[in-house]
């Protein structure tokens, strides 16, 4: 979403869904995974909205939707592309919105070549590097070198990179007729995504597609709006970012962004998953989506700032946020003379994300590992490879409530049960620290709607249980003590200068979480008073702020995230409940809820508008715009930074202020979404010779075997994984609870009656599910909720597998993720777990083999792996672990 709109967060919030006239839930099983947010969908339905659920399975969401559209897992781009095709061909887009608020009129470089011209590749493919030269995708007349050199993509923000490109279209055609304008390119790009093609690719009958498309169109325009809700059913694919992009395009065409009842609701699965990207425990980011320096490009502070500062749009403010961060971290040591301690920061040399860390671990390069509140041997792909990594460590620290599988990999695992690995041979030293629960500590979670909510400590944690805050704080104190005598070495200066003097309290002398939040908010250095918000931050060292987008959360020296003015005592927007980033805005880009003159598009859909008398933007939500900038404002020549944002630029984080239908810069795998098959598919790509995402991340290793690209005779069925209402992710917070465990007490798989007959599977009986990675067993649930799809005249069966279970807890079962290989999205390194191929047989697993320790599970055949790619894409440069694009000079990672 970052590349389309400017910020990597849901554009709206669940309560606003009650204002929708149509809601499409796709890539999400919202009723099951987010039941309370779904409350607002039900409110919309009761008010007459149409609810559409697009999903391979008929789930509890489908059960209460007005329409269920069964789809082949991994074919969503084709389906959504079909909707774009319908909107464009039938001229059903919201023209005034599209012309004024999106980059549809922008003219693109003459050099640009589309996937339609090149059989699934965009122009600019560099065979020797195995990646695109993205400058050919640029706006016409914009110096591609300057633009690309200044800012390229960034990985890692949960599927939505934040865009900071300093590019603005030089040439536009507001009539949208120029053949090189974005709109016409879009039209051509999706010209083959016809209802007939959708039926072939997705198994969705064309009438059903047309009905969905028409319902969406009917419910758009000045008087009506529609929303999309998605979750990991979209992100966990080798082209996951582009799934979301396709929905973004639809929402821009229909004028649904920034307006009540519109938007794209990203449904996150963990209490603070949004928070953990905002303040990232992610390798490639610093707090507030500032990029980590890259060894090759960001040689010094000057270069780093130059490459990150945008001459236009909000990212012109970049130096203020970076300098304030350095002041927060390194205090008095961060001075202008010392480049604000820029050279205290470690640098990146490539992709250092989770899957690469794991293979490095398996290869012995990683010695020590901290795991806090996560259970990777169950929750991550290829569990056997994860465990192989853990076995190769010198030491492992696990912090959790109980002894999860990751803590006990050395004594309870399939390969130990099989006798292939012995505990006595595993050299890893393991520390298990009991963690404090949220009821035993103060702190804030950032929820799915960017809302920071404070939770108060209710009781002291029992025994040795401690918060992560306490653990990290005290580890930091110890590190300072251990290095005290070695501060003469520059490598230890960051440890010496790290500001670490948080006040402590309580019997365990735990650090005060509010003091940490205060630092995150930021303060003026001279008097240590809280700053009012990020607009107060400076690049002269006079302010400090740990995360600029959270600046304002401690406004007036009070914890804004702890605000709890009850609903019913304030408007439906509830601006005085907790605090949302940025600036307490609840619907992003809400300038777009008004027309170019600043008037609401309609009374029914009003939210924020220009008040001529007051000379500012007003409304029910905090305006996501420069408060006193009138609709008539236009940038003067040579304007820089935020002065370039005109009165009709609702997308203020974008360099040109527009919503990006076409992403000229910022994505590695294409400016427009293209349907690619998953790494392992039941059918060849019906649209292109280039079958899979050419930039997908692969790990071609003995311990990570792949299937044939399609029609692998050994693995004839499609398989998808998911969660259930009654459990939570890898089960660490549910499998140990009797009240939840009794509701879903055993690992199972869901199959259609037709597949049951074909494979002799009995309801309630056992099945063995097999991939080349592992074989697992599961109880069988035969149900009409899974339906065979008819694709190109043949029947495609899908197997559904929840992934909550493993070898520990009150209820046990095999771990579904053991079946899945390492494959990733090139933009954000998210794994592909929602679509793959597998086999299923009746009966319990004969041996419970895992390829990593048992050797090949299935007879090897000619893999025809080359069929995934066009000839010029094959034989990509190999790196130490599989393929990953090398860094480009643009700073691509």
């Amino acid at each position: 979403m970052g590349t389309s709109f400017g910020r990597g967060g849901a554009t709206t919030f669940p309560q606003d869904l009650q204002n929708s006239d149509v809601i499409v839930i796709e890539g999400s099983n919202m009723a099951e995974c987010h039941p309370v947010a779904f409350r607002w969908v039900m409110k919309a339905r009761e008010r007459g909205a149409t609810i559409i659920h697009v999903d391979p399975r008929f789930t509890r969401t489908s059960a209460v939707a007005n329409m269920h559209v069964p789809i082949r897992a991994g074919s969503d781009i084709a389906f959504l592309g079909g909707i774009i095709h319908y909107i464009v061909e039938n001229e059903r887009y919201f023209k005034e919105y599209v012309v004024n608020y999106t980059n549809a009129p922008a003219i693109i470089n003459d050099e640009f070549r589309d996937t339609e011209d090149l059989d699934g590749l965009f122009g600019g493919w560099e065979k020797d590097k195995g990646q695109y030269k993205t400058s050919t995708w640029m706006y016409k007349g914009v110096d591609p070198e300057a633009a690309a050199g200044a800012r390229e993509s960034e990985s890692g923000n949960k599927g939505e990179p934040v865009q900071k490109n300093p590019i603005q279209a030089e040439h536009t055609d507001p009539t949208l007729q120029d053949p090189r304008c974005v709109f016409q390119i879009l039209k051509r790009h999706f010209s083959r995504y016809t209802p007939e093609m959708v039926e072939e690719a997705c198994g969705v009958p064309k009438d059903l597609l047309l009905k969905v498309a028409e319902t969406l169109c009917k419910n758009s325009g000045p008087e009506r709006t529609g929303a999309f809700c998605y979750a990991v059913g979209w992100t966990q694919h080798s082209a996951g970012v582009q799934y979301i992009r396709t929905a973004a395009i639809i929402q821009l065409l229909l004028g649904n962004i920034g307006r009540p009842g519109g938007g794209i609701m990203a449904l996150r699965g963990h209490a603070s998953i949004q928070g953990s990207t905002d303040i990232p425990t992610l390798y490639n980011l610093l707090p507030g989506y500032l990029l980590m320096p890259k060894a090759k490009h960001d040689k010094d502070l000057e270069t780093y700032l130059k490459l990150n500062e945008s001459p236009s749009g909000w990212w012109g403010e970049f130096p203020k946020y970076f300098v304030s961060l350095m002041k927060a971290w390194f205090g008095d040591a961060a001075t202008k003379e010392h480049d604000w301690c820029y050279d205290y920061l470690p640098t990146l040399t490539g992709d250092h994300s989770h899957m690469n860390t794991v293979v490095d671990m398996a290869d012995g390069a990683v010695k020590g590992y901290f795991v806090m509140g996560e259970n990777p041997v169950v929750g991550s792909m290829n569990g056997p490879l994860q465990r192989k990594g853990l076995r190769a460590l010198d030491w492992l620290v696990v912090r959790d409530f109980q002894l999860i599988e990751t803590a006990e990999f050395w004594r309870e695992a399939p390969e130990i049960e099989r006798g292939e690995v012995r505990s006595e041979d595993i050299g890893t030293e393991v520390f298990f620290f009991p963690a404090a629960a949220h009821t035993e500590k103060d702190g804030s979670f950032t929820n799915t709607q960017r809302l920071l909510q404070w939770h108060h400590k209710a009781i002291e944690p029992a025994g040795d249980s401690r918060s992560e805050l306490d653990f990290v704080f005290k580890l930091g104190q110890r590190m300072k003590a251990l290095y005290r005598d070695e501060y003469d070495q520059p490598r230890n200066w960051p440890i010496r200068d790290l500001t670490w003097d948080y006040p402590t309290k309580g019997p365990a002398q735990e650090p005060d979480a509010e003091a940490v939040l205060f630092e995150i908010n930021g303060y003026t250095v001279s008097d240590r008073k809280a700053v009012e918000g990020y607009t107060s931050l400076k690049d002269d060292g006079s302010t400090a702020s740990g995360c600029w987008i959270y600046s304002g959360c401690y406004r007036d020296g009070t914890n804004q995230t702890a605000r709890r003015k009850p609903q019913g005592e304030q408007s439906w927007v509830a601006p005085e409940w907790a605090w949302a980033w940025p600036h307490n805005r609840r619907i992003l880009y809400n300038r777009a809820s008004a027309d170019p003159e600043g008037k609401p598009w309609s009374e029914r859909k009003r939210l924020v508008w220009w008040d001529e008398q007051k000379g500012e933007w007003v409304g029910e939500d905090e305006p996501d715009f420069i408060l006193k900038r009138p609709p008539s404002y236009r940038a003067v020549e040579n304007a820089r930074g935020k002065e370039t944002i005109s009165g009709v630029d609702p997308f203020i984080m974008q360099a040109d202020g527009k919503g990006w239908i076409y992403v000229a810069s910022g994505l590695q795998d294409g400016p427009l979404p293209t349907h690619y098959e998953p790494q392992e598919s039941v059918i060849p790509n019906p649209l292109y010779g280039q079958s899979c995402n050419p930039l997908r991340m692969e790990w071609k290793r003995e311990d990570n075997p792949y299937h044939r690209p399609y029609s692998d005779p050994r693995f004839p069925f499609a398989l998808t994984t998911y969660r259930l209402t009654e459990h939570h992710t890898a089960g660490g917070m549910s499998r140990w609870l009797s009240w939840l465990s009794e509701l879903q007490p055993e690992m199972f798989c869901e199959i259609s009656p037709e597949l049951a007959v074909e494979r002799g599977l009995r309801n309630g009986g056992w099945a063995t599910i097999r991939t080349s990675r592992a074989e697992i067993e599961a109880r069988v649930l035969v149900t009409n909720r899974l339906r065979p799809l008819r694709i190109r005249g043949r029947i495609v069966h899908q197997i559904g597998v929840p992934y909550h279970w493993s070898s520990k807890g009150l209820v046990r079962g095999d771990a579904a993720n053991d079946l899945i290989s390492f494959v990733g999205d090139p933009n954000v390194s998210i794994q592909e777990s929602k679509a793959l191929t597998a086999d299923i047989r009746a009966g319990r697993r004969s041996k419970g083999r895992r390829h990593v320790t048992s050797g090949p599970i299935v007879p090897e055949i000619d893999l025809k792996a080359e069929e995934r790619d066009l000839p010029q894409v094959r034989h990509k440069p190999e790196t130490r672990h599989g393929y990953k694009a090398e860094e480009t000079k643009e700073g691509n990672i």
Binding site: V36, I273, W329, D360, Y369, L403, T439, P566, W577, T725
Partner: protein, 191 residues
């Protein structure tokens, strides 16, 4: 109304029914003292902490009821504009999550090649971890790349986890580990 001073025999419901000419037991005569004094346990508590559900990212409001330093109930916070006092089954099970017998409260240690857990004191474990971080960092420090580019890091230590943690915790993790030159800091957002 039952009299608490009555004899055991007189409390026997059948006798009471007979005495009160209520053979069907349909009126007050059958009400026991326990029933009479029944009250919601949340009414008399020492503290109600406003909280947030720790499971998914919807962020439903929770109220945590505390009596004698023990949590006696967790339920939805009606004031929350997100959840209006409701919870899903996981949220409703939070009480069991935080008070259940599943929780381990000691630090446990497994020696290299060991076959069992040992209990060790928290402070000692913290010291041991700190020593290992230093040793691993010092032995695996990367100052510059082969091309002379500054690296200032160690690739031998990595971290995983964050999406279930507080913002303040993620902040200290990122701050400390970046200060130590650890760049492989990752969480569920990618998993």
């Amino acid at each position: 109304m039952p009299d608490h001073n009555e004899s055991a025999l007189s409390r026997w419901p059948v006798l009471r029914q007979v005495k009160n000419l209520d053979p069907l037991g349909l009126s007050n005569s059958a009400v026991s003292p326990r029933t009479e004094s029944l009250a919601a346990r949340t009414k008399k508590v020492d503290k109600v902490a406003a909280s947030v559900c720790p499971y998914c990212a919807v962020g439903c409001g929770q109220l945590v009821y505390v009596k004698d330093e023990k949590i006696i109930d967790i339920e939805g916070d009606p004031a929350s504009p997100i959840s209006h006092g409701t919870l899903c089954p996981k949220g409703a099970a939070t009480f069991q999550l935080v008070t259940g017998s599943n929780r381990v409260t000691n630090v446990l240690y497994r020696r290299p090649y060991g076959t069992k857990w040992e209990t060790i004191p928290l402070d000692k474990a913290m010291d041991m971890v700190a020593e290992r971080v230093k040793k691993t960092r010092d032995a695996n420090w990367e100052g510059k790349s082969e091309n002379g580019e500054p690296l200032r890091r160690t690739m031998a230590i990595a971290h995983l986890g964050g999406a279930t943690l507080d913002n303040e915790e993620n902040y200290l993790i990122k701050k400390l580990f970046t200060g130590l030159g650890i760049i492989q800091v990752e969480n569920q957002a990618r998993i």
